[in-house]
């Protein structure tokens, strides 16, 4: 079976790109998790849908590079809206996030339905950005995904210590000359990049899972932030690999269109999480039971 998968050049590329994406989102998600902004990723991801649709309606191309620009733009817009609402009005962060998330997504759904019923050609696959479908990915998409993933990983790699200080003690960071505002902006921007890159394979609804579940699993195994980053990247990569493989290997028939890739990747990540939650060597539930019994 796995031979089949690695047979064609294209499926190999698909696998490599989703694995890279899993790594990138695992690492980026680590910092949004430590910054306690996990769920802003949900908002950004849902909000990327109207961006994609608008970009398509304006450009009439399916070129993923163009579409992801739209996704990044509307994702950033939603993140900005949330923080502006919190700063300027008395609306609390959770309500602002939920509001932006649901209304942007409503807009995205309406636009995608319009595209489906419109006479514009070359529209196949726009809908697959909702749940992700690795089989509709074409080669040019892959270059974008690979490029963006590598970019996100290298930004985090270069600015690792700055992000650590931002998440741990932003006041101290500011007192050392690291502007929390600027760092937050960079973090949000690469979050949007990562989300956009995840759209073809995982889709707008579930990409946030790749930003939350791998780092959350990694947190249960270690207290060292570097190991955590590595582990989170590994979990993300493996989830992407296994999920994509299952989706590709599933037989599809005329009555059964196959399983969407996104949910399968997320389920794989979730199983890693369950294992981590139980057996995690630092904070897993069994470990906690043991130490409690031993100490108290």
């Amino acid at each position: 079976m796995s031979l089949l998968l690695l047979d064609s050049y294209n499926s190999r590329i698909v696998l490599i790109s989703t694995m890279l994406l899993g790594m990138a989102s695992g690492i980026v998600g680590l910092f949004t998790l430590l910054r306690r902004r996990s769920l802003i990723g949900d908002c950004v991801a849902h909000a990327s849908l109207p961006g994609i649709c608008t970009a398509f309606l304006m450009s009439h191309t399916r070129d993923f590079f163009v579409l992801s620009l739209g996704a990044i733009f509307s994702g950033l817009l939603s993140a900005w809206l949330v923080s502006a609402l919190c700063a300027r009005t008395k609306i609390k962060e959770d309500a602002a996030t939920a509001l932006a998330l649901s209304t942007f997504f409503a807009g995205g759904l309406a636009l995608s339905k319009m595209i489906q019923t419109s006479p514009i050609g070359n529209k196949a696959g726009i809908e697959s950005y909702i749940f992700g479908n690795a089989s509709t990915i074409i080669q040019q998409d892959l270059y974008v995904v690979v490029g963006v993933s590598l970019f996100c990983i290298s930004v985090i790699g270069l600015m690792f210590k700055e992000f650590v200080i931002l998440c741990f003690d932003q006041n101290f960071g500011a007192s050392q000359g690291f502007s929390p505002l600027l760092l937050d902006l960079i973090l949000m921007t690469i979050l949007c990049f990562c989300t956009a890159a995840g759209l073809p394979a995982v889709g707008a609804v579930l990409i946030v899972a790749l930003l939350i579940i791998p780092p959350a699993s990694a947190r249960l195994w270690t207290d060292n932030i570097r190991y955590m980053a590595a582990l989170s990247a590994l979990f993300g990569m493996l989830s992407a690999l296994i999920g994509t493989a299952i989706s590709a290997l599933m037989p599809s028939s005329p009555s059964f269109s196959g399983l969407p890739t996104g949910p399968l990747i997320v389920l794989t990540a979730a199983s890693f999480f369950i294992v981590s939650l139980l057996f995690g060597t630092s904070h897993g539930l069994l470990h906690r039971l043991n130490t409690k019994g031993g100490m108290r």
Partner: protein
Amino acid sequence: MNDLGLAPEELWVIATCMVCGLACAIPGVFLMLSRSSLLADGIAHATLAGIGMAFLIFKSRNPALLAGGAFCAGLITVFLIVGIQKTRVLKSDTALGVVFTSLFALGVVIISTVAHDVDLDPGCVLYGLAEFIPFDSRNIYGIEVPKAFLSLTTVLCATVIGYTLFWKELVITTFDPVVAKIQGVPALAVRLIFLVSVTITVVVSFEVVGSILVVALLVAPAIGASMLSRSLIGITLLSGFLAVVAAPIGYLSALHTNTPVASMMGITLGIMCALAITLAPSRGLVSLAIRRALLRLRITEDDILGILFRWHETSSKIPTIPIKPTFIKSALQSKTPASIALRTLQWKGSILVARDSSLRLTEQGLVEAKALIRSHRLWETYLAKHLGLAPDHLHEPSERTEHYIGRALARDIAEEVASDTDPHGRDIPS
């Protein structure tokens, strides 16, 4: 029957959406107030797994069974979140994110695998099936009533009754759970029952509006209403009103653009919120901006009055030289253009502009200026006396504060400092 030329089926769709919006809007207010709007998002996503599981186990599309499954999934979500937080290192938002995405993914996978057996597919999970509401109906006394309408009406009635009966318990638990407990209100139970009611509402609304847009129905009316009203009752009623109004607007715009009703309803609510946030009479962004500009204008006016008064004060000793607007403009460092402030002062009758464009205080302007200078000098005296500030540090703070010291406060300060002159030796006008 109607001017819009809508068929009875379409009216039923609108009516169902109205009931659905109303049923969501009421719990939405308390979700917003207890800062758990995103929990609703989580529950809404997670119910999909329950629906899928129920279908897998019972092999039936019986709505009661599916709703039961969804309800269980909602509860499991809440418990899982609590369990994950037990690890201490994963906070509530992370726990929520892990649980709901996993359950949603599970739901999508189940529904995709069984999709060829049922007319359920991941798409309708997102869009809802508002358009198809009338096709599944029951005959009641000769009228074909859609089942979705019936179930939503039941939920709405239960919600209204429940919230009316337990209003005060709900309010105190939401506002201050600790005090609630001290007063003997079972805060935890109230909170749980509240979450259960939210779950039921979500499950029943799910079929009409889809899993993600139900969040819009829960959150948006409450946010919009909270911009327009301050009282809890007012917010609740208003949010219900917004939801009810959004239903026909959403339906008609969906009809015209050929888009799903649910997403158009979500967009309508989003636009309503945006309008409320920007245009709300007392707390909207526009009115805040206007009031900020008015404050700046008033401060500039005060400053002009101050300049004129001080000019009069000194020129009584030396021959009068007329003061010109250009001088005022150069003396002011305010953001509001001096010309506007000069015009409003003239219009109010506080200053007179002579033919040679020189400026003079009127009787009324003199009174106003005196009050202002009094505040300024009193505060300077106070700062010097009680805060021990050096004489060259007095003017700036007083310049900022003088605008806010009213007559009553000035009298109090005057009593406190008991002096006729300020630290610079100038008279404090009375």
